[in-house]
Subunit: 152 residues, 2 copies
DNA sequence: TATATTTAAGAAAAATTTTCTATTATGATT
DNA sequence: AATCATAATAGAAAATTTTTCTTAAATATA
């Protein structure tokens, strides 16, 4: 499938603000409303767009205590890895989980209200998952930058 | 401001799919279309919603090489910190940057096409920023989980 | 209890999306 | 270069959705 410069610009605009009307986008792209509409539908159908979402303000909903957790497994057998990944993905406090190179461990991005809630998360949820060897938590003092925009 | 259970559910729905019509939301919430409309406008005005965006598929646009970079500064003076944060925020490859506790350093989430592009990023961009003492890169083998949904 | 204030509902108006048809551009083939 | 097929674009019409407006109900306040 051909994915031209106009499609790229369109995706950039939609990543910035998906509530723009096709008319606004058509002005920015020098296209007709229908052309914009058809391009968006094509991008959606081809899988370039995973979805449209609202971004909630973390401070407002009192969930702005971010912790990165490094995790090592006791063993790295297929069974252990699969089991750990399945369990950790279920936890709503875990926004992101990455399998990392090097020390063969994981990096988790955990979002909670405060230290008390993080403690609960560690004790009641994370450490009850099997096969965890060790954990190392890094607390975020300040979120310097956070964007969802992928540059192409 | 009062932020009730219905507002929470509404934010959950909008975080999952912001393209739902007010009619669909009104059915899920047992409200009228106008009531949903007014609640959304209120949440927007009060700052609960930072924006509405399209999520682009990383694989499709060939930007799915994720690297986490740990960075230590040579000094931690106010000047150095401010300068570093300003410069690093400008880099489009850096999706996220966190100031961490403990070793007083930073964690960067970097998104590029491949290792070649990461090398370019390191050599031409990251290491040209002043005050960096040392860096340590962790490559993502697999993205086990990634959500933008904040639980409330 | 009476009075204000907020919240909600339904209808109407305005705006936007979506469909449809026709036209133009693009690329491949000869 | 000419022809054909395919894809992209534009404008108008239809369908849907958002937004506004008015009225009614619920909640809180004095």
């Amino acid at each position: 499938m051909i994915f031209d410069a106009t499609d790229k610009r369109l995706l950039e605009f939609l990543q910035q603000d998906s509530k723009q009307t096709n008319k606004e986008l058509s002005n920015k792209l020098n296209l007709s409303v229908t052309a914009v509409y058809e391009r968006i539908k094509k991008l959606e159908k081809e899988g370039f767009i995973d979805g449209y979402i609202a971004l909630v303000n973390k401070e407002k909903v009192k969930k702005n205590f971010i912790v990165f957790c490094h995790i090592k497994l006791v063993q790295h057998s297929q069974d252990y890895v699969v089991s750990f990944e399945r369990e950790v993905a279920k936890l709503k406090e875990v926004l992101e989980c990455y399998h990392l190179s090097g020390d063969y461990d994981y990096l988790l991005k955990v979002l909670v209200t405060d230290m008390a809630e993080f403690r609960e998360f560690m004790v009641k949820k994370l450490t009850t998952i099997n096969h965890i060897g060790s954990t190392h938590s890094m607390f975020v003092i300040n979120e310097v930058k956070h964007t969802t925009i992928i540059n192409m």
